[in-house]
Amino acid sequence: MNANRNKRKTLMKDFFDDIRLSRRSFLKASTAAGAAVALGAGLDPELKMLAAASGTGADEMGQWLPATCQGCTSWCAQQVYVIDGRAIKIRGNPNSKVSVGAGCPRPHLAIQQVYDPDRIKTPMRRTNPKKGRLEDPQFVPISWDDALNTIADKIMALRANDETHKYMLMRGRYTYLRDILYDRMTKIIGSPNSISHSAICAEAEKFGPYFTEGLWDYRQYDVENARYILIWGADPLAANRQVSYYSKVWGTVIDRAQIAVVEPRLSATGAKADVWLPIAPGHDGALAAAIAHVILTEKLWHRDFVGDFTDGNNRFVLGQQVSEADFEEKHTHGLVKWWNLELKDKTPEWAASKTSLPADQIRQVALDYGRAAPHAISWVGGGPVMQVRGAYASMICHALNGLVGAVDNVGGTLAPNKVHTQDFPGPDAFMDDIANKGKKHEKIDQRGRLAFPALNKGQSGGGVVTNNVADALLDDDPYDIKVAIAYMNNFAFSCGQPERWERALSKIPFSVHITTNASEFSWFCDILLPNTHHLFEKYGYIKSQGNGYQHVSIMQPIIKRVGDYKTDESEFPWLLAEKLAERGFDNLLRHYKTYKDPETGKEPTNSDEFSLYALKYATHKLWDPALYEEGDKFSGWEAFAKVGVSNSAPYPFRKRWGKMKTKTGKFEFYSETLKEALEQHAAKHNATVEQVMEACFYEARGEMAFVPHYEAPYTAGDPQKFPLLFVDHKSRLNREGRSANCPWYYDFKDLDPGDVAGEDVAKINPLDGTKFGIQTGDRVRLTSPTGTIECTAKLWEGVRPGTVAKCYGQGHWAYGRLASKVFGKVPRGGNNNDLIPAVYERLSGSTVRHAGTRVKIEKI
């Protein structure tokens, strides 16, 4: 074994020389191209899809059944190979135009999730009344009936006491059946507190697109037609979004486009890029400002989109104010204001002093990017924006798309295509006086307060402030919560400063966790309910965009359930509704009975029928030929269920030019939309916009609050005491932090550039290794102002000196035997969130992940 290992090591060492030295052409035979006959050629489209759907080759023992992967939010259409009700393996569903038959490493790991021995197989009840990190809950198995009766009693008690607002529903990973549980049930019980996880994901990423082009959403990128792709803190070949599609086409994309990646550590995408810009964390806005400055001074903006000076002479000259009257804009608004307020002095030399990148490199990137207009994508990921001052970075990085006319354009940045799913019936008729009264209370997360604008779609308090719920609970502000139900979330692991969640959850008198594994969150709950696994065991559907399409991909139960699992978003609420009806409150059950089977008109009579009818109801227009609108066409439900995915019509390029959902209908460099939103929020609190800026830790004053601009990062920790900046990143194996109990996760952890199989490593530059006396393989302790973790050191050239980069995903102290070192007690590796303080990008409500803290590193 050792011999083999040594041999492999030697092989690695001499291999790269080998490539250079030993290339020999070996085959000179001429070849003739063979014309491949496509599968099902000549069939109509649905028959072709069905042919690809069944996909079972001769002599195969099993069947390929359609499924959807939610390992990340790419949400790819997949197929599972099933033999006798058992999942064997996974591949891409060739019928999706979004995930294009591709996958990534994640779906394969799902097999080890669904058959994870540490999945809870039965409802469980806590027998230790004391709650705390050091208290073993002493769970015992109970029946579903027992569990549901207890939960129903607790909800009825709230209703009896007019305290329904003290019920809270927390949502983690969801399908679009979510509204059954998240929205309708919460409202009909009578609570305002449906709390989603969205703000710990990437809401700040949506801020820039919304306040420039009226799009509160993630974007898709037309990479195959792009000539320059400038990527900010996103890693599309490894993590989020459409990893499958981008992986599929990247080999072609890099032939056609120059690719620059802005990120302090060398990412999977950076590894294949033309330019790696290892920026000093938090200064992305400065780089974007300099790029915009160069584009304007060099007259590289896209005139068909932006317009031009009335006389054609470029007055964008370093340091000079421009008169608005001299520039005639086409589909944009406020370019000259933006120049005068922010850009006129922002030279590459200035940006170099902020970003620590060479000025000539910044200028070159700006020129190359600008010359590629309009096929020049500025791709805004979580890196620059999930920061305390990330909202304006989100705006300024995204605004580059406006300058070069890439918005809504070929080779540019696109919105989701329209798909024709439908909402469930409304809850209003089923909300009684108690419910209507309860719902009027302030939401538990304090959204909409002066310091939490959370301007989702421009509305003050329109978005969630997920991580603040812990503090709200600890302070009983606005009130206490008595009954909480949570599903597919793990806020005691996945939120910054999770120790607050441990204390907050311990305070809730009665809480329920619907989960696959007994996680850190579960540790503080009273009842655990075993959930189905989305890829194999439940009904659901998702919508996801990419490749110029949006698909609707469905989930169905396709394997035998090993444990007594039930589906969070459909079976559980139905069963609970039955229990509530038994107790004289049948509003919820009566509401759910309105989700009738569109084929037969029958109302559901049990949880299985309800789950299926709900899915058929929501997707009715996609599969019923009588209701056909556009995109893929099916002959009926059965055909759709067999194919598993429906694609939208192709992307209508440039249709939104001049008709954007902003206040002016244009792409706003001076955001009238943001101005209105901030002024409304300020007025709500009898405050000024400046006071809002101050409360949200922004530097902008006056008109600066309405234009995309650079702000210096706001980072916790004294540089003397904490000399390194912490860089959090995602793993290509992370199934949203849920794959750490899979054996393959550890065997393949080195698929993340710089990481090591079987280890959880903190990566530092060798220069810092020397400085701090640390070598590869050393056990180290990382300490930030809010927490401490232990892990292994790795010296790596792919990390910016002065930073420590660490992949999120490990550091579980619960979840399973592999995820933790000692279940319930000792973490395996370190959880990045222990280091990251609970601070916010407050304008969007987002949790901070990047440039949030400094750390120190010590050898143990």
Binding site: S22, V275, E797
Partner: protein, 241 residues
Amino acid sequence: MPRYAMVIDLQRCVGCGACSIACRSENNVPDGIYWSNKITETSGTFPNVRYHYIPTLCNHCDNAPCVRGCPTRAMHKLDNGITMHDPDKCIGCKYCEFNCPYGVIYFNWRNAHPYWRDETVLIEGCTYSPADMTRKAGGKILPNYNPERDETLAGIRPKGVVEKCTFCDHRIEKGLLPACVEACPADARIFGDISDPSSEVRILLGKFRPFRLREQLGTDPHVFYIRDFNPAHYQPTKGGV
């Protein structure tokens, strides 16, 4: 008779490793054993750094040192060029493992999949043991055991013998591509009959100048690499003195 070969297009490869994990599923490969593997290297010094990734697997050499050195002919060549192993004939001498210059042959020192043989339960009454999960799921040693692997080779190889990539011979027999090829999201693996002038592998090998691992050893590997993992643009320069 076809002669099977694989072309790996490094430019298309994104280094994701889906090939290697899919291989685990398809072939019931134990933890710690990599029929499909990789060589990675980080070259340069900050900030001029790149990470490189080369997928590896059994090269199915024409002149295979593992076959030549096997005293029992357990390691043998099939007519279609696949280097195949017969665990029934294997005496576990590991000559093949030592002779292979690529480090792609692994010896089973223990009963495979010890994790899944474990009978311990994490939360009594509330979770399964790994072995129980397999039984309940209806698998064999592994809950996701693929019985199709057993058609041409022991579905799970016994302790005391070696194992390695077979180009998914059991799939090829049915006209299916190897699992790693099917699983590659980037279409970086191209498989086919190198003796057929119109096959995709032959077309690519005619179009690009391929290289093979340690070609100088004369093993005549049948896994070919084309293009570069990172074909970056750069500003032209003559350097300087």
